[in-house]
Symmetry: C2
Subunit: 377 residues, 2 copies
């Protein structure tokens, strides 16, 4: 049986995440669930949203998928209940799991849209406390704590990251490219204090595809394009980082590109290096002796769910920089057939390479050891 460390799963927040953690006077202003016309709707000061069915498809046949709203009682319990989640994961051999937020958006970017930024910080902190006190507490030897931070202010992001390191966070959930959101990008010095802290703490920075796309949701776009071409965003963002001053200023920084796939990387590195050599003279890049491909193999990790092509090319990239994802309960998850999917995917791959991709690289990166005694049967 495969022992798996999933570096990319998704929490569907339960109704109490925010209201259970704020004073009475704020309960109507933070995200809370109301019933209307038989639906459950998330409502907060200035906005509302339903939970999209596509975010909660684990265990459901393809024919029943859709972007329509779903109620909590229509979802599999493992979507929002950490006890049930842990059972589901362990039943599939997944012994460690890093989970991303849903309602807050990746990196918690939705709170940046709040007019009242004090309320926004309160919401960020509440989600983070939920992550530690309820989600991870339900099964601490499986759930790897990751926190979000205020994306609109580096000083606030540093303060919240310091608080969460003290609370045991093992990773920062962050944006691939804030310049896509009109925030300072990674070719400015704006985020240096945050990167300095993460480097010093050895904290991996996890950036999920779509976390800094112009579009927050699939509404208004062609869903199949966004889904099928999503790797192009990770490709552009990671290459942008490879040629930025950030990894040259912070040589110990750890950057994880979640759900972007791995098969395109070797081509990306070759192009980046070739252009670097041609254009470094007039583009005046600092520390130009450090090649983009060197940055990628030193500072970056890339992730895969089921990607036979990427796996075939693994030695052209780097065996110690590839991580495995489950994506539970999103549309890419092989759950409940995770073990069979891995059997098919890793056929013919030597055991030490399987171990590296399925859990050892992640164990080292997150400083979190899997407990194999949890394996069923």
């Amino acid at each position: 049986m495969f022992s798996l460390f999933s570096v990319d799963d998704h929490i569907i927040e339960s109704a109490g995440v925010w209201v259970d953690r704020v004073p009475q006077k704020l309960k109507d202003r933070v995200p809370h669930v109301v019933e209307a016309d038989g639906r459950q709707i998330w409502v907060w000061e200035g906005g509302q949203e339903t939970t999209m069915g596509l975010n909660a498809v684990a265990g459901r046949p393809y024919e029943t998928w859709g972007a329509e709203p779903v109620r909590f009682d229509e979802m599999r319990k493992g979507c929002y209940d950490p006890h049930e989640r842990a059972k589901d994961l362990i039943s599939n051999g997944i012994l460690a799991s890093v989970s991303f937020p849903t309602l807050p958006g990746f990196a918690g970017r939705k709170f940046e849209t709040f007019a009242d930024k004090e309320l926004a910080v309160t919401c960020v902190r509440a989600w983070n406390d939920y992550m530690i006190d309820e989600w991870c507490a339900a099964k601490p030897d499986v759930f790897v704590p990751m926190h979000i931070a205020p994306v609109w202010d580096v000083a606030l992001a540093v303060a919240e990251t310091e608080r969460m390191i003290d609370r045991g966070s093992k990773a920062l959930c962050w944006m691939e490219d804030p310049s896509n959101l009109g925030l300072p990008g990674y070719h400015t010095e704006y985020w240096y204090p945050l990167f300095e802290l993460c480097e010093a703490a050895g904290l991996p920075i996890c950036m999920h595809i779509g976390g800094a796309s112009a579009q927050v949701s699939l509404a208004g776009t062609i869903p199949m394009v966004e889904i099928a071409a999503a790797f192009a965003g990770a490709a552009r963002s990671s290459v942008s980082m490879m040629v930025s001053p950030v990894p040259r200023k912070f040589p110990g920084i750890k950057l994880v590109w979640s759900e972007g796939g791995i098969g395109w990387i070797t081509a990306a590195l070759e192009r980046a290096d070739r252009q670097w050599l041609r254009h470094q003279g007039w583009t005046h890049i600092p520390d130009a002796h450090i090649m983009p491909s060197e940055v990628a193999r030193r500072n970056m990790w890339f992730c895969m769910i089921e990607e036979p092509v990427g796996l075939k090319y693994r030695h052209d990239f780097a065996m110690d920089r590839i991580l495995w994802e489950s994506d539970y309960p999103h549309a890419d998850t092989p759950f409940p057939n995770t073990q069979q999917a891995c059997t098919d995917l890793f056929a013919g791959v030597p055991q030490d390479e399987i171990d590296a991709i399925t859990y050892r690289n992640a164990e080292e990166l997150f400083g979190f050891t899997i407990n194999k005694s949890l394996l069923p049967g």
Copy 2:
């Protein structure tokens, strides 16, 4: 010696392209060159622009490259003079060449910004007539005629394409994704009449990277990012087309993605097919039995200058869908060392595969046969 068919070179327009072809009263309104402070500037009704040095680096050492403006007399003559261009190409074994516009932008998109759309159509036609009457006429057995068309109106685009097919055009220079420019995209029926014409005429549609990016130039962006990550735009655009109704409605359409590279394609096809199978139910795609990878291998061609990684993975894609580019006189060109670059690149590749990539696939696609007797010495 390698016999080469370059499907991607660039014309730096000479001063007379437009003024030589319009009535006296329009000469101050169409693009024309004026001298100011020792520089030469393109000026037209509503705009002006210098020729960027980076667009004319053929034969110059990397240390001298830059984005600063250059005068015609500072450029190698082959940039703008078709007789000199033909000599340069042939000296490097390049026996056929498809060339893209510079001042008009790829696909001639700059004319869409003209307030006077009649003037804009005049400018499109003048560039096309220049292509046939001066550029290709200088060496008809080397230069493959390609035309631009009005990108703001499908009926005008059809009319100009019909006119240019009659004039001998072998390809349409078009946009990867007009929706990036605020124009109707390829998930609408708007462009069907143009695609219907191109399919019926067997006319390849060549779409250069950057041709429908939000940014027209490198100004205001981080140049190294735009250069190194440019393939991500081709990746997104081509996947968008693979999952669009267009190639299913027009099964004979021929789509060429220029300068986007090839090494990322197998990963892109695998992801597109996997997502297609998972999401086709709720996204309601017509003709869903035709897989994205089938579209790619039937309707698409991808291009490479020097890409050892992409070449290594060639059999995972399709030997008959890979084309070679020279990119003269842009920054990616191996000129004047094209033969040596090809010797290095194709080491160990069987001769029939070299021939397919370097000229046979292009001969068949463009209906244009190279004349090997032109090869030097």
